[in-house]
Symmetry: C2
Subunit: 386 residues, 2 copies
């Protein structure tokens, strides 16, 4: 293996673009000075475009989980009845946070690898009109599902005024997100996935409807009080000391996304998903999710005739290539390939062509080049002609 080469293709953290890495090494500045205000003023509209909202997008220094907790403590309080839709490990996390705060939550568990069903949620809400909020996941990182949150919102609105809270950590920035248009009430994401940054920032936006609830919610909260973030952001500042290096990086990430064009960023992610899926289909290796509900940012492979962990180990050993394993009951049963953020079709071809070698090395017989050729065909048909 080439010394110092690490090819990071887990579903987050994702690789950092060189210009972002450089930006983060800028000398420290005062967070109450004009430079920080100027930076926040530039960042604001670009974050709003990614979230598809005209509302302020709070920038909280913390992991994605801090963002999820902020969503919970701002929109509900103990005794409130809420619904948590669990399609994998991160839906489960919303349930755990609600549990920690004595929220009266019901959960609908969907088989891991399947998407939530908007009609079923609608029926549930018709029978449970007291539900005040619905917690859901956009991309479920643990399975590679992209839940139909636009359709969920449409279905919910027909029967309920419950707030729709969405964990978008592993896809916002790489997948089309239209909070306002779709009627999503709270959207959360993190810095270390499609945002191409190290972990350490979480972003939370709330709808006008949600702000009304937040303003009247007396659930105790301090650091994660969204009102503080919004009211300061309007004055181009932050309530607490921000992770300035990450903000330097964020400013450059948003420049890169502008340079490529947000629409093109989304197209690239879809293309990378299609290339990856076509490759495994061509090799006759099952995927965990259907094509219909597959996430553009992460693909889970569910082998039926080779050991998932063996594949991971051999790729790490031969090429320094990291892909992720499964979580909870899927541990050892799947591998997950991240293709998000600073990842290109050329990188997907590298993943597929090294995976083909890895499969041979662990005794899974495939015709070499088959997966690569399938991915190349997708690129040629869609990446260029579209």
């Amino acid at each position: 293996m080439l010394a110092d080469q690490q090819i990071l293709r887990i579903p987050g953290p994702s690789p950092i673009p060189p210009s972002v890495q450089r930006a983060m090494t800028q000398p420290m500045i005062g967070h109450r000075g004009q430079n920080t205000s100027d930076m926040l003023r530039k960042i604001g509209p670009k974050l709003k475009a990614i979230f598809g909202t005209s509302q302020e997008v709070a920038i909280i220094t913390g992991s994605g989980t801090a963002g999820l907790e902020a969503a919970v403590v701002n929109v509900v309080k103990p005794g409130d009845e809420v619904l948590v839709i669990v399609t994998g490990a991160f839906g489960d996390r919303f349930a755990k946070i609600c549990g920690a705060y004595q929220i009266n939550y019901q959960r609908i568990d969907v088989e891991w690898g399947k998407a939530l069903n908007p009609a079923a949620i609608k029926s549930y809400l018709q029978e449970h009109p007291q539900i005040k909020a619905i917690f859901s996941t956009y991309c479920e990182t643990s399975t590679g599902i992209l839940n139909p949150i636009k359709e969920l919102s449409e279905a919910v609105r027909q029967v309920s005024d419950a707030l729709i809270v969405v964990d978008g950590v592993s896809c916002v920035g790489g997948v089309d997100t239209q909070m306002d248009e779709w009627g999503i009430d709270v959207m959360v994401t993190g810095s270390q996935k499609a945002f191409m940054l190290p972990a350490g920032l979480t972003f939370v936006a709330a709808s006008e409807r949600a702000w009304k609830v937040i303003e009247q919610n007396d659930q105790p909260r301090f650091y994660l009080d969204l009102k503080k973030y919004r009211d300061n952001l309007i004055k181009d500042t932050t309530p607490f000391t921000p992770a300035l290096s990450l903000l330097f990086g964020l400013e450059q990430v948003l420049n890169l996304i502008d340079e490529e064009g947000l629409e093109q960023v989304y197209k690239r992610h879809t293309l990378m998903m299609q290339m990856t899926r076509a490759a495994f289909h061509a090799m006759g290796i099952p995927l965990l999710t259907s094509d219909e509900h597959a996430s553009p940012t992460v693909t889970a492979v569910k082998p039926n005739d080779f050991d998932a962990e063996e594949l991971r180990k051999v790729l790490k050993k031969e090429f320094g290539l990291s892909i992720a394993g499964g979580q909870q009951h899927l541990a050892g049963k799947i591998v997950r390939i991240g293709h998000m953020g600073y990842c290109s079709p050329a990188d997907v071809l590298q993943i597929i062509s090294t995976v083909e070698i890895g499969l041979q090395l662990i005794g899974k017989e495939i015709v070499l080049g088959t997966g690569t050729a399938a991915a190349q065909k997708i690129y040629l048909n869609q990446g260029v002609l579209v």
Copy 2:
């Protein structure tokens, strides 16, 4: 194209490993202080191992051409008769430097893409016993030839005491080099190829035989006076202010080479060459050089039914992938792929799989995956089983 992604696969400069990039950002230190001496003391033995010599390896702040000029002005003087063997653009450079110094040089031109013929040089020397030095090239970057300098030295020694001066700029550090054992008198290389650094350092080593000539040579020289470098290096210092950031990087490059193992570094380069060549052979696309004299660091492709420049352009446009074109009369007729330094078999697979797409896009019909599969087979047979 992914913003900020540049995949650099020209035959130098080559990509910089991340830990080397970081090392180069260390705060500046005094070049006459203990830290610099300590660093030079650590660097010395490792450079000697790469050159295969027990002699000091001079570290000159300058481009590779400064190293070539140092070789000329130290071992010969105006009026001396020398032989320059030209197998490409860089052999030609030696001739130009000799010309600038009124050295009485003869040149043997070998068709570009072919290697020098030791027997022919031997015959020439038998007819020209007055030749004092022979200037040659190890890897000729412009064609991807690896000249048989070991065999050249054996042949020369049978009939002549001429010094053998070798430009090893585009391969030393990636290809086995045994100056002492092979009887090479002066070897020059640069920092921006297999040494995985930016350009800015050139390394020159001289044999005991060469030092005798150098010490008696009254050709005027100052900055490029090799004696100054050797005499200072023995005292762990440099005659002039060195490019300290590049020395910081060099120290880490040598650590990485140690970590991988020099033998393994050479094996990796050979493997990458074989993978690259097998891929083009499988696609039926001609290479400029024979398998016998191919360089492990660079491969020149000589298409007969598509436009070399079109391929370069489409790879740059689609993937941000840079490969080089031809020089002088080969301009527009070949492409050159660098696979040296911070480059792995996984990177070669990325090059090949994107080249396959590039070929389709410019209308050269190939069966997608063919080249990739050929490269994968080489990896499986040699990278693992050997």
